[in-house]
Amino acid sequence: MSSAPGGLRGFGLSEWWIRVRELLPAQRTRMGRVSVEAGLVLAVVAVVLLVTDRIDADEPFEVHIALALLAAATGTVASGFGHTAGRMLGNRRAIWLIPALALYSVDVVPDTALVRGYGQELSRPSLGLLVDCLVIALLLVIAIRPPGRLGAGTAWSVAVGGALVGLAIEETGRRVPSVAEDLTSPAALNMAVLLVWCVISTAVFVAGVQSLSPPLWRIGLGFGVVAAAHVVRVIDSQSEGMTVAFSLLRLLGVVVVMLGMAQLLRRTLDTVITERFAREEEVRLSGVAAERIVEVEREREHELRNGLAGLTGLAHLLGADPEDEQGRRARSAAVTELRRLTDLLDRRHRPDPACLYSADEVLQNLAVLWRAQGLDVEVTAPHGLTAVGRPSDLSQVLTNLLVNCARHAPGSPVRIVGTAMNGTIVIEVRDEGPALPTGGRPLSDTAGEGIGLQLCQRLLAQSGGDLKVHRPDPRRPGFTVSVLLAAAPTTAVRLVPPIPSPRLAFDVRMAE
């Protein structure tokens, strides 16, 4: 894998675009970008004012209507962009900017588009329009420093409330001619509100520059141009050229706002994609790490299985004199132990079904193994203790208990007593070692104790058994644990003669 040529091969279009942009001097700093964008917009405004002042449009009303429709559509699209961006990442400024833009697009634009008919003079603006502009200005002010506790519901309530009030005033003026004059806005008041709007838009623009947020400064710039367009309309509402200029400037302002909203949406999407990528990367890294662990475990399990298979084969082959009871038991116990270990590996895949087995046989066989290791173990259990479950489970549990005895009561004799009573087989395992002052070794104390007493309890519970730790008796020092097994109903058992092949001892009695 070569690095340099590979690097050139992987160089994408976006990389080239970034390099090209870096070469532009004005784009090197954030302020440079602001200056370029603001200068460009102002230049367009100047051109519009200069050009439209000299034109004599044949159909100014139609042009005005078309541009108003375009502005309304652009504003609606921008609202959609902003709303999506705001919802995706919970942008608090967008929460207040979107209702302002929506109010302007769906209420103010139609109002100012239909204010006069073709060939008629422009009437004085209604107080309702003034209310709309004030609400827009209010929403823009709040967007500069949005309050933490108020959410989108409040912002939309303010916008909808303003729109309804404005609508009510306009409708009243239309339906009641006697008060129509009183419900028009004086030119000075109109101009004052629009200038306030201009100032607030400038503040939004400055806030965007200060917080290094291109979307915000573009939105502020756009709203400023829209406000300026309305100022132009108030200054000169008679000439046809200025009517077109108003429409063009308003469209320009809304387009700039839309560009800001589009950039906000793009940034939001970039953030979402980056976060998703990071999460996915973490998942992948965890997956790869887990896969490595599994692979190591798989290797280990493979070797364990092969070793166990080989040892099991050898254990079966160990010659045993039929007269040598100890030898037979030792071989049987070794095979049982190997089977238990194999079951430990297999349990993850498919547990053996429960069966009837000779519990006393398992006890005796295990005792032989442990005596060989030097543990003083004595088993007292009547012949024919038939339990329900898996002999490997009992073997596992007893092995765990005997390991505990050897560890906590070294040198102490261990007595295992098996009895059957009321459908339950009770196997009491007792050593003479010290009991813990807390009242016996708790089941939760599993550190370093094989598979743990708790797991032993769960193992037994699968076949209706249980494990109980006795409370220490001050008159009789020592530690006692009882293993409870479900006893087989005597009628369900049919004794099967032992088969000559060296199968496990517990297989000699099987349920039908």
Binding site: G6, G7, E281, V288, A289, H302, A309, G310, G313, L314
Partner: protein, 250 residues
């Protein structure tokens, strides 16, 4: 399974050689000793190359081969495809019983699809295992026809899935395959970008392209597909990917 009938001992089974192909000495030796107790003639083959195993088999009249499905090869001898062994032995008239600690059923199904007559897990009780071997040596099928058909069905579906994976894999460019290798090794995108001397954006674009071409929804799925195509679960950094020649380059 019942114990072997007395009449089977040393009868027809005796005529057929039983070759134990296992790299685990303890397993092989104990099996051969156990078979001897049952009157079965077992021979051990611990060679771990395809040619070596087939040569070893040539030394005996065709009989029953007990094949470990996960023969560990030494670093010098390279990798070994046990399915080639199955096909080679089958072509030479051997009846193959897969005897393995392998738990991946698709692998076992592949061996049966390649011609193995049966499968016995190594964790089976020895008498059961010997009964099956004796039966195979006597010419009895280890599987009922419907059981064998289920294995073959599993093999067919595995092969179909493998073909789909390979089709998707071939859509990737050489560079995308390299990037996916690095992803499977557990490297972060930033490290991959440094390695290829490209930007993080470029690597992300490549990863998006990989996901789209492989028709998966996450990087983890893409890595899993790579493992399936390679036939290994744990990628190593120095491993060479066995892929087809790249269709295009970036």
């Amino acid at each position: 399974m019942s114990a072997a009938a007395p009449g089977e001992r040393g009868s027809g089974a005796q005529a057929r050689a039983i070759l134990v192909i296992d790299d685990h000495q303890l397993v092989g030796s104990s099996l051969i000793l156990a078979m001897a107790e049952r009157g079965l003639r077992g021979h051990s083959c611990r060679v771990t190359t395809v040619a070596g195993i087939l040569d070893c088999a040539m030394g005996f009249p065709p009989g029953v081969a007990l094949l470990d499905l996960d023969l560990r090869t030494s670093h010098d001898s390279g990798s070994l495809d046990e399915l080639e062994v199955v096909a080679g032995l089958r072509a030479r008239g051997w009846s193959i019983l897969v005897l393995s600690a392998e738990t991946d059923q698709r692998r076992i199904a592949a061996a049966i699809g390649a011609g193995a007559t049966g499968f016995i897990p190594k964790s089976s009780p020895l008498p059961e295992l010997l009964d099956t071997v004796a039966g195979a040596a006597a010419g009895r099928a280890p599987f009922a026809p419907e059981v064998r058909e289920r294995w073959l069905q599993l093999d067919r579906s595995s092969r179909a899935a493998d073909r789909r994976d390979r089709t998707r894999w071939r859509r990737l460019t050489a560079r995308e395959r390299e990037v996916l290798e690095h992803l499977a090794y557990g490297e972060r995108a930033t490290v991959i970008a440094e390695h290829f001397v490209v930007s993080l954006t470029t690597v992300r674009a490549q990863i998006r392209s990989i996901l789209a071409k492989l028709d998966v929804n996450s990087q983890l799925e893409a890595v899993a597909l790579l493992h399936r195509v390679r036939g290994t679960a744990a990628p190593r950094h120095d491993e060479t990917v066995r892929h087809e020649s790249p269709s295009t380059s970036m």
